[in-house]
Symmetry: C2
């Protein structure tokens, strides 16, 4: 009696602000999911502030809570979402749970967000990397950023051919049916091989040439579908979209994104999207549109604050003045609650930049 609208989400909890379970739970609930929430930490705030207080849920405590749920018949989710888990011992407990739920229910939709690092920096214990690799064959969907995709595959993502190699490893070697890679930088080589219009100007609801528009990043979705003919070398159906980046860093964006991909990924009884979309490309488009809407509205909110409350990202000035960094973090907490409309009605073909374009010749050499 698994419940297809029930998600079990295992991530961190911050009392104030929106990362981890605090970024994932409310959007999933708003979209109609019962969310069972296991918190791997309880911290006052996210680590970006530079200082925080709180406690971790250790491996034994985690196993104990799972035991309590199991004893009461409460471990029957239709969907599983795992994100940042501090430490290899706790991650092992999560991995064991994922295997158990997978064995118990082959239809389980497990979104594994292999949170390991970003921007060439690893922020988990190195022992976590092999645990994540081992766990890949259990996942339905994974949502690494480009750096995590590199860590998982050992392939440097800088061209179409290396992207192809990485996706082949994830789909074929590790058996992951659905992969979304986010924050891929369009190197000149990669940009040259993209389908037409992917990099066409997108204003994301902002005036074009707006001073606060940053770089463009790519998001790639790749699904192994029954109709994909492996004998011609085609491994999967690939879509790609571009997202214009708002300057500066917003915490919790990845956690919000993975929750929304899971929320919009259809169950077995839901109708598939019309071609050329795949279930994953549509879920990705919707997630991108919602996330982008919330980032843009957070950015607009920041602009309304007094100047001293919204310092720009500047590591050097932050180093001289810890309060400066704290003020920026406070100002830039995602406007998740005020952005309910972006979650309920993602404009996946619209100005917020959630279009996913079929990359039809991706596997053609």
């Amino acid at each position: 009696m698994d419940d297809h609208t029930r998600v079990l989400s295992i991530q961190s909890h911050v009392c104030s602000g929106y990362v981890g379970n605090r970024a994932a739970t409310f959007p999933l609930q708003l979209l109609g999911y019962d969310v069972d929430v296991i918190n791997t930490v309880q911290f006052s705030n996210h680590s970006g502030y530079g200082r925080l207080k709180g406690t971790r849920t250790d491996a034994d405590q985690l196993a104990n809570i799972l035991h309590g749920l199991e004893e009461n018949g409460l471990l029957r989710p239709g969907r599983l979402l795992t994100g940042y888990v501090p430490g290899a011992a706790a991650l092992m407990v999560v991995a064991e749970l994922a295997r158990k739920l997978r064995d118990r229910n082959p239809e389980l939709i497990y979104l594994l967000d292999p949170v390991m690092g970003d921007d060439n920096k690893i922020y988990v214990a190195p022992e976590c990397i092999p645990i994540y690799k081992d766990l890949l064959d259990c996942a339905t969907i994974i949502t690494p950023n480009w750096f995590e995709a590199e860590l998982l595959t050992g392939v440097k993502l800088e061209s179409e051919s290396t992207l192809r190699e990485a996706l082949r490893i994830l789909h074929t070697l590790h058996g992951v049916p659905h992969v979304v890679i986010s924050t891929v930088l369009p190197t000149p080589e990669l940009a040259a091989s993209l389908p037409a219009h992917v990099l066409a100007p997108q204003t994301n609801g902002l005036p074009e040439h707006s001073p606060y528009l940053g770089d463009v990043q790519l998001v790639v979705s790749s699904s192994v579908l029954p109709e994909d003919e492996r004998k011609d070398g085609k491994v999967s159906t690939v879509h790609v979209g571009s997202v214009k980046q708002i300057k500066g860093y917003f915490s919790g964006v990845g956690d919000l994104f993975s929750a929304l991909v899971l929320a919009h990924f259809p169950g077995r009884s839901d109708p598939p999207p019309p071609a050329p979309d795949t279930p994953l490309s549509r879920a990705t488009a919707r997630a991108v549109a919602s996330v982008q809407g919330i980032i843009v509205s957070t950015h607009h909110y920041v602009q309304t604050l007094p100047e001293e409350e919204r310092p720009e990202t500047d590591q050097e000035l932050d180093g001289q003045d810890g309060e400066r960094r704290v003020r920026r973090m406070r100002a830039r907490e995602l406007r998740l609650i005020q952005g309910r409309e972006y979650i309920l009605n993602p404009d996946e073909r619209g100005k917020m930049g959630g279009r996913m374009v079929p990359w039809t010749d991706f596997w053609e050499l």
Copy 2:
């Protein structure tokens, strides 16, 4: 720079099901509040199941988290909500926080739900009772059930005169401006003195004489308004409503109710409701309507389950078979997520029974 749409909620967390912060947070978020969430426990499920696993946040850990929030300028809520806190030491930390926030911001709206017991049973440490009494002068609104109102005042609530005595103690001795007493039983003596129509048949959306309609309970709201003329013996403006009870027990109802009273209580800049409503009577009416809608839809859901999944409340049979109790608890978890519409659009004058009738002669002897 306090944030009037920011609530700090300090209650328990259960991984599965809806009590404490799990009953309070989502409704407040759905109604537009940023909610900072401090969890006083992390348990697998609520105690009604008869077995649970998890950890408590002890007094030191609680103080530590508050310190982290304070350090980062994150302790500036416009509203404070406190519910079940296990143990006197942790409750002392909460009380100290409430005093600090009150001193810092005289406009703080503090809803204190003095969770101590129900149905003549106390389920906190006895040392908690004097701490709650001491804390009353800090509260803007309190939402005791009838048993907790008796514990706080020492008055047995069984007639209009004893209710008057209890409200006088809470308003005058303890200085609480707004009091809601829920689950008051209409004894024959009390029923005889109610305003007309309070006990008139209300169907709550169910067929009248429906076999699963239980007893009627009363909810009383009482606000000290500037225009209340104390010299004539009038202490406050009182409203009363009746709620038909659905058979059996649903956990988390009180926590959901208090969160909704806080959510609907207007801030200083919000327009007051038209007479004869008071801000509190309208907030109470809306909260009752939403809660009743969710209870009724949970009840309807339970009826759709296979018979063995929904045993009736029966302590004796539960004693013989622990699984029986667990099955009932699972089936009767509040349908909070599915009941979003009841939260967004409470039908406070409608069939769900949220009408609050002015009790105009309440203070006349």
